[in-house]
């Protein structure tokens, strides 16, 4: 009996001692707790998550396209249907949730960087990763602000409600809405920090670089109607990278004329895909189509004629199948920067600069030998041309909604949007509060934050 007791005791002790180590084994070889710079870089390299920038809703709300009654009716997403006719819908979880999920990843990376002791030779990599995370976080804050907050108005930004600014990974901290001013300050701060950390070039355009951060700042300042800063940052961006594709070298017959990460792209990203923007059902507004000059190659490269005589969009800069998933390209591209400079310069009275950048872009868009440069010196006419070209160039690039919100404040450029569905006319007057989407019901219930 005694022997047994000793044996048992021995067995138990060895079991307990060896137990801890034995149980430390990883249950899945493909899983790990993020503990190396490579782990963090890998999280930011998740293209279909991190580079799904911009809320899909912004694409649905715009006036560049229409849906047939039938296609609208057969959509299974009620929130899409309602976005299309500018009806309030708070079941729109996908835009909000996915953006904040990516913001969490950015915060996780930023927090993990503090705990990872990297050898000095990897310091640069560590900085790049930090810059990338800040860049993505700012981009997501920016895109949320476009859909869920009023446009920036320097008179009311201090009191207008912005979006919650989550800056850490804690689940316990309550989400509170910031003001529009705080929102934009955070966006600008993150982008500015990232400029100093990001590399000049990356081996793949899914990763942000310095020029992308400059370009994003230019885009942000434009949205804030701060034209001198918009000018300055777009200029900094183009100083680093200013290649334009000459469209006469692109095959107009191709189904997908532009490749992903093509020469004009500084940083590649797309919006969260939404069915209404899928080329299968998304039909181009006929007046918009007619506004392209017949010598304008964009008329051939951007559009494909449908059986019913309507046109659909094929000029996706993500090189995807006819925009088949319904995303918009939302990355940073040189053409947008040209247009930001052209507009800002026109507004700031630098007509020659505006003309230089406008014509610099357009001469790459027209058939060889057919381009007639813009020469007007009338500032209003020039601005009108720039804005019209901005719409025509940046089609399905998710800039239109922000532009509408911004330009509607100016009676000269304000438009009233109209849709006809099942014989009924839906309108969105320029001043409408509906330019701000509802925050999802779930978010309001769980957090108690204020609804728009």
């Amino acid at each position: 009996m005694k022997t047994i007791k000793i044996l048992l005791l021995l067995f138990v002790t060895t079991a307990i001692l060896s137990c801890k180590k034995y149980l430390d084994a990883k249950p899945d070889a493909t899983l790990a707790t993020p503990s190396t710079l490579k782990d963090l870089q890998g999280l930011l390299d998740d293209y279909r998550t991190m580079n799904f920038l911009f809320c899909g809703g912004t694409g649905i709300l715009t006036d560049n396209y229409y849906l047939t009654d039938n296609d609208w009716a057969s959509m299974y997403r009620e929130d899409f249907k309602n976005y299309y006719i500018w009806q309030k819908d708070d079941n729109n979880n996908s835009d909000w949730n996915s953006a904040y999920q990516q913001i969490y990843t950015c915060n996780l990376v930023l927090e993990s960087l503090k705990t990872i002791k990297s050898p000095s030779k990897e310091e640069e990599l560590s900085e790049n990763i930090k810059g990338t995370a800040l860049f993505f976080r700012a981009s997501y804050f920016y895109s949320l602000a476009q859909l869920f907050a009023k446009s920036y108005d320097k008179n009311t930004a201090g009191t207008d409600l912005g979006i919650p600014l989550r800056l850490n990974t804690s689940f316990d901290q309550k989400s509170v809405r910031s003001t529009v001013k705080e929102t934009y300050l955070q966006i600008i701060d993150d982008f500015k920090q990232s400029i100093t950390l990001l590399p000049e070039s990356a081996f793949i355009k899914s990763r942000p670089v310095k020029a992308a951060a400059y370009g994003s700042l230019a885009r942000t300042y434009l949205a804030m109607e701060d034209y001198s800063n918009a000018y300055a940052y777009a200029d900094s961006c183009l100083k680093l990278y200013d290649i334009l594709i000459n469209y006469s070298s692109v095959d107009t017959a191709a189904n997908i004329p532009f490749a992903r990460f093509n020469d004009e792209v500084i940083f590649g990203a797309t919006s969260y895909p939404v069915l209404p923007n899928s080329a299968v059902i998304c039909k181009i507004d006929s007046n918009l189509y007619k506004s392209y000059n017949d010598n304008d190659l964009r008329k051939l490269l951007f559009f494909k004629k449908n059986q019913d005589g309507s046109y659909s969009f094929k000029g996706d800069y993500d090189g995807s199948l006819n925009n088949g998933y319904g995303h918009s390209f939302t990355g940073i591209v040189t053409d947008e920067q040209y247009l930001i400079i052209a507009e800002s310069a026109a507004r700031l009275g630098k007509t020659d600069v505006a003309l230089q950048y406008l014509n610099g872009l357009l001469k790459n868009r027209f058939k060889e030998g057919s381009f007639v440069p813009v020469t007007t010196t009338d500032s209003l006419e020039l601005l009108s041309i720039v804005l019209s070209e901005r719409r025509k160039e940046l089609l399905f690039r998710d800039t239109r909604w922000t532009d509408l919100k911004r330009l509607n404040k100016d009676p000269r450029f304000a438009v009233k949007l109209t849709r006809v569905l099942n014989g009924k006319i839906y309108q969105l007057p320029a001043s409408e509060i509906k330019y701000v989407a509802l925050i999802p019901k779930t978010v309001i219930t769980m957090s108690g934050m204020q609804q728009n």
């Binding site: 790990a32 080329a279 934050m449």
Partner: protein
């Protein structure tokens, strides 16, 4: 049963006795307990046919040849043998002892110890060898369907039915499957790799006292499979068995579809309304068109005349694709099973050796599987007090899944829909007809000007050109060493090694559509030059799976009876266990049977043919995974019985694993159970004569449940470059968000049971009541999505369950030539979700109850529907919005509160069981099993215009649809309005009008067997010979609750075909 069989055998010898000297014997038979004469007792002479019965007074007279043995037998009593040479003074006074003890003298196995059910406090259910082999079939678990109480097979999951013991204990984030023990250790592989031929019996551990010794994995109940063993001091016994099962070809026409002609008329009308215009000459995708649409388009384009088009279309009206399915893709199924067992033993050695071979030709052509198994189990006593057991099991199973799919499964490539009902697979001569599958004929006819490979599809060709096989090798080695210190004490060490290697490969030869399609997609044509980026040749997808499980157990067993009244039975020990599963997959291009292959470029993108898909990479198909589960456990179990009357039991187990992280292990509380039993009938004051056996027992305790997919820490998953075609660089994704409070699921269960038996075993059985509370169940907890994650898997749910299990066995008639036995099983289970932290937005919630959808206060498998308000005068369905009839479907579907919806109840049976009757007449035995499932509902398949238009899935309700004003008074099937209103379709499908009662009683099987006489056995030098026939999948409805008479197991009407088997069993 055994008595009767003996008796039957004895009967056979009636005419074989030569005129020997016969000794007359007279006597009286009495019962031991009551000392009363027994009537109808069989008195026979062993090895002859001579027999007689005792009279009313218990008297008998028989003439016996010298030097023979007299057998006195009676149902419910222990049989007695008397040598004629030693017969004393006559008349004899023969006393037969009641064998009611035998009712409960059942040994059950928990995987840790053998327990006598008589003294146990826990709830066990045993399926013995006879019952296990009552049905045929190659799968172990399907043989206990309908014969094991308290186990519910969820028939909605098809043939691989999942099963629940006493309802569910988890909501699906951890495993919901019971733990399966093969002899001593958990079996981690696919149970279908184990041959039923090796199974001796199955024990189901139902309550906490029975199961909680399995600790963290006991929560869902435990099924212990005990394999066959040899016996000491037994001459070699050889058993052979074999059977053939024939399964009929399914009758596809039992499915209720729209007629082909109606389908064509619908297509024509849709064509006129422009529905197909987007697809016809589609500039992007070139989707395939149906023959009717193609013909109509050609007619519209003036390519063919109206008369030709009409003639062509009208010819199609007589076709039905089901004819072709039945003719070319189905056959009657044939299953053959062969088994041989050898067993025996000497004083120090016992052995068991078995071999089996099963072959199954499925009803789908070219789907077949076979399994070869060999097993040996040997026990030695090399020195005194030491026992060594070595068991080895090896099986090799091969599964071929070459069929492109049966009816309802075979779908069209581009649309994912069904083939139109007039599709023909072959022409009159049986030659395959090419079908459009990926692209339209208009595209494939002209594409590549003949330089591309054929781009059409035919299932008959696919049948020849795709080979999909999975070969699994299973090896299980068990070594056990037991040292006996004293009669009371022994210690043992057990080791088990399981290795399951599976290799599966899908070969698409160059003629298969998959290969042709991929080759074409990447083909570059430059004038006369054709460049293949994907090499011209076949494609081989290979996948290797391996499972290695190693377990070590040390255990001390203590058994002692002190004096005459105290009996102790205890075990204690520790266990470590590791499961490692690895998987790797790869794809080879340019593959052929000569093993040629070609390397391809997975890195760069290539333009696709006609730029249809833009620039893409060649799909690579490489994948790897590697998982490791480790457990360390300590356990103890003890029973104490006083004076055979009072028993108490207690068990304890503590587990730790590598799954959750250290903190969770620390938090894990020990799982335990306690129980007590009172053998009332042993009490001196107990005098109920008609009920000589009565026992009351009660237990309480906990089992656990684990999930190996979540962790308390933030984890990221490494994903390969091939998982993101956009950038083709490897990346990571967060796979688990942190949750420091994570712990294991706990299932607490109380069980109260009553066991009883009447005199002569006429009626015996048990009634049990249980109550379960599952807490800390893993589920989704809703968070404010702004924090970064909308739902986090936490210990967020609780579940209650309660029910009753009744098991009754009776011998209704027992005469000398005829016996009728009945077995009745009844189980009731009610589950309710009592807590869930998910923010279940129940407004407008509907469900089929197909999956667990936990809503606090409701059943986990719940059917919820919209209230039906009939059809309006345009044939549109109406629902209710704020108490008023409405066709505002969006509002109904999004804003109806759950309380205003129609709660249809449980989607799984709440009451179920079976009633099995066995008749023995002479050497025949006939038994049939009636099963019943009550207290549940199902949603019948409905006509969905969306499915009809976009997926080609029809329903014969189309004929009953609203067509003219006034029809709303006659029908509930909505009108067809084009364009479709998706809301209307959805609303109708989920309206309560389509929820029917599923309650049913069915006769499921019938078994007839014949045992040959010992006379014939002797001639053939056999000990036993039995032939049997077994009819299964009868699905004969005795009663069905819903008025539409829809069988809830086969809601579409397409039934599992009937099977008939014949077999033979013999021992020598």
């Amino acid at each position: 049963m055994k008595t009767i069989l003996c008796f039957l055998i004895v009967l056979l010898f009636k005419n074989n006795i030569n005129a020997q000297q016969l000794v007359p014997v007279t006597g009286t038979v009495y019962s031991a307990k009551e000392q009363k004469p027994l009537i109808g007792v069989t008195i026979s002479v062993k090895g002859t046919n001579i027999h007689t019965f005792s009279s009313k007074e218990g008297n008998f007279f028989i003439k016996v040849p010298a030097q023979h043995i007299l057998i006195i037998s009676h149902v419910g009593y222990t049989t007695k043998e008397i040598k004629t040479d030693s017969i004393g003074p006559q008349p004899l006074n023969i006393i037969l002892t009641e064998n009611e003890i035998a009712i409960n003298n059942v040994i059950v196995s928990t995987g840790y110890q053998q327990i006598n059910k008589e003294s146990a406090t826990g709830s066990f259910e045993k399926i013995d060898n006879n019952l296990f082999n009552r049905s045929t079939g190659t799968s172990i678990l399907s043989r206990i369907d309908g014969v094991a109480g308290s186990i519910l097979f969820d028939h909605r999951q098809g043939s691989d039915a999942s099963l629940q013991i006493r309802g569910i204990s988890s909501i699906g984030y951890a495993s919901t499957a019971p733990l399966i023990i093969l002899d001593n250790f958990p079996y981690e592989g696919n149970i279908n790799n184990i041959s039923p031929n090796d199974v001796e019996s199955i024990t189901i551990l139902k309550d906490a006292a029975a199961a909680s010794i399995w600790g963290a994995r006991a929560g869902n109940g435990v099924i212990v499979i005990t394999t066959k063993k040899g016996q000491y001091n037994q001459p070699m016994k050889v058993s052979l068995n074999s059977n053939v099962i024939i399964t009929a070809k399914p009758n596809l026409f039992t499915q209720k579809n729209m007629s082909t002609s109606d389908y064509i008329d619908l297509e024509k009308s849709l064509f006129d309304q422009g529905f197909y215009d987007y697809s016809i000459d589609n500039p992007y995708y070139f989707p395939p068109l149906s023959t009717v649409v193609q013909t109509l388009a050609e007619e519209r384009d003036g390519k063919i005349t109206e008369a030709d088009a009409t003639a062509k279309i009208n010819e199609l009206r007589t076709k039905d694709v089901r004819n072709d399915f039945e003719k070319y893709l189905y056959r009657p199924g044939v299953t053959q099973q062969y088994g041989i067992n050898l067993s025996g033993g000497s004083e120090f050695f016992k052995y068991q050796l078995s071999g089996g071979y099963d072959r199954n030709l499925a009803t789908l052509l070219r789907n077949q599987d076979d399994r070869f198994s060999i097993r040996s189990s040997n026990t030695y006593q090399p020195v005194k007090n030491l026992q060594l057991n070595v068991s080895l099991l090896y099986t090799k199973s091969t599964v071929n899944d070459n069929s492109p799919g049966g009816y309802n499964d075979l779908i069209m490539g581009a649309t994912g829909g069904a083939f139109p009902p007039y599709t023909q697979f072959a022409d009159a001569k049986g030659n395959p007809i090419p079908l459009d599958y990926v692209y339209s004929q208009a595209f494939t006819d002209t594409a590549g000007e003949g330089k591309l490979l054929d781009w059409t599809y035919n299932p008959l060709d696919e049948l020849k050109n795709v080979s999909h096989s999975t070969i699994t090798n299973t090896l299980i080695a068990d070594i056990g060493l037991r040292y006996t210190f004293s009669k009371a004490l022994n210690a043992e060490v057990k080791y088990q090694y399981q290795n399951v290697d599976g290799n599966s490969s899908i070969g698409y030869n160059v003629n298969s559509l998959n290969a042709r399609n991929l080759i074409n997609q990447f083909t570059q044509i430059d004038g006369a030059n054709v460049t293949y980026i994907v090499p011209y040749g076949g494609i081989l997808d290979a996948e290797e799976n391996s499972l290695k499980a190693v377990g070590w157990r040390g255990q001390i067993n203590f058994n002692k009876t002190i004096g005459t009244k105290h009996s102790i039975n205890a075990i204690a020990g520790g266990e470590i266990r590791q499961n490692e599963t690895d998987m790797s997959g790869d794809r080879t291009y340019g593959y052929d049977e000569k093993l040629n292959h070609t390397d391809v470029d997975f890195v760069n993108t290539y333009p696709t043919f006609d730029n249809v898909l833009g620039n893409i990479r060649i799909p690579s198909g490489s994948e790897f995974s590697s998982k490791l589960d480790r457990f360390v456990s300590m356990f103890a179990n003890a029973d104490y019985t006083y004076n055979k009357r009072y028993s108490i039991s207690a068990s304890f187990r503590k587990d730790a694993s590598n799954l959750f992280g250290v903190d969770a292990n620390k938090k894990g509380i020990p799982l335990w159970s306690v129980g007590g039993a009172w053998n009332t009938s042993e009490e001196s004051f107990y005098h109920i004569e008609w009920l000589p056996f009565l026992k009351l027992r009660m237990t309480y305790g906990y089992g656990g449940n684990v999930s190996n997919s979540i962790s308390a820490l933030t984890t990221i998953k490494y994903l390969p470059a091939s998982a993101q075609v956009q950038t083709n660089i490897p990346f990571n994704r967060i796979s688990n968000y942190p949750n420091p409070n994570l712990q294991w699921e706990k299932v607490g269960m109380m069980n109260v049971g009553l066991d009883f038996g009447t005199r002569n075993k006429r009626l015996y059985g048990s009634v049990e009541y249980f109550k379960k509370k599952s807490s800390d169940l893993l589920g989704e907890e809703a968070l404010d999505p702004t924090v970064g994650v909308a739902y986090l898997t936490t210990n967020s749910a609780n579940l209650m369950g309660s029910g009753i299990d009744v098991n009754l066995n009776s011998i209704n008639i027992a005469t000398t030539t005829f016996q009728w036995e009945s077995n009745f099983l009844f189980s009731s289970v009610k589950n309710k979700v009592t807590k869930y932290l998910y923010d279940v937005f129940t407004d407008g919630y509907v469900s089929d109850g197909q999956y667990i959808n936990p809503i606090p206060g409701y059943k986990p498998y719940l059917i919820v529907s919209y209230k039906w308000g009939g059809l309006d005068s345009d044939g549109n369905p109406l629902g209710y919005l704020n108490g008023k009839k409405s066709n505002n479907y969006d509002s109904i579907m999004y804003y109806t509160p759950l309380k205003d919806e129609s709660i249809g109840g449980s989607a799984i049976p709440q009451y179920f069981g079976s009633f099995r009757n066995t008749f023995l007449w002479k050497r025949f035995s006939i038994s049939f099993n009636i099963t019943y499932r009550l207290g549940y509902y199902f949603r019948k398949p409905t006509l969905s215009y969306y499915s009809l238009l976009y997926l080609g899935r029809s329903n014969s309700d189309y004929e009953k649809r609203w067509q003219n004003p006034g029809d709303e008074n006659k029908t509930d099937v909505p009108a067809f309005h084009y364009p479709l209103n998706s809301g209307s379709d959805n609303f109708y499908q989920y309206a309560d009008i389509n929820v029917l009662k599923a309650d049913n009683i069915k006769l499921n099987d019938l078994r007839v067997s014949y045992a040959f006489s010992s006379h014939i056995n002797q001639k053939l030098s056999l000990q036993n010979l039995e032939i049997f026939g077994y009819l299964s999948n009868l699905n004969a409805r005795l009663w069905i609750a819903n008025k539409d008479a829809i069988d809830p197991d086969f809601p579409t009407g397409l039934k599992a075909p009937i099977s008939i088997s014949v077999g033979i069993k013999t021992d020598f």
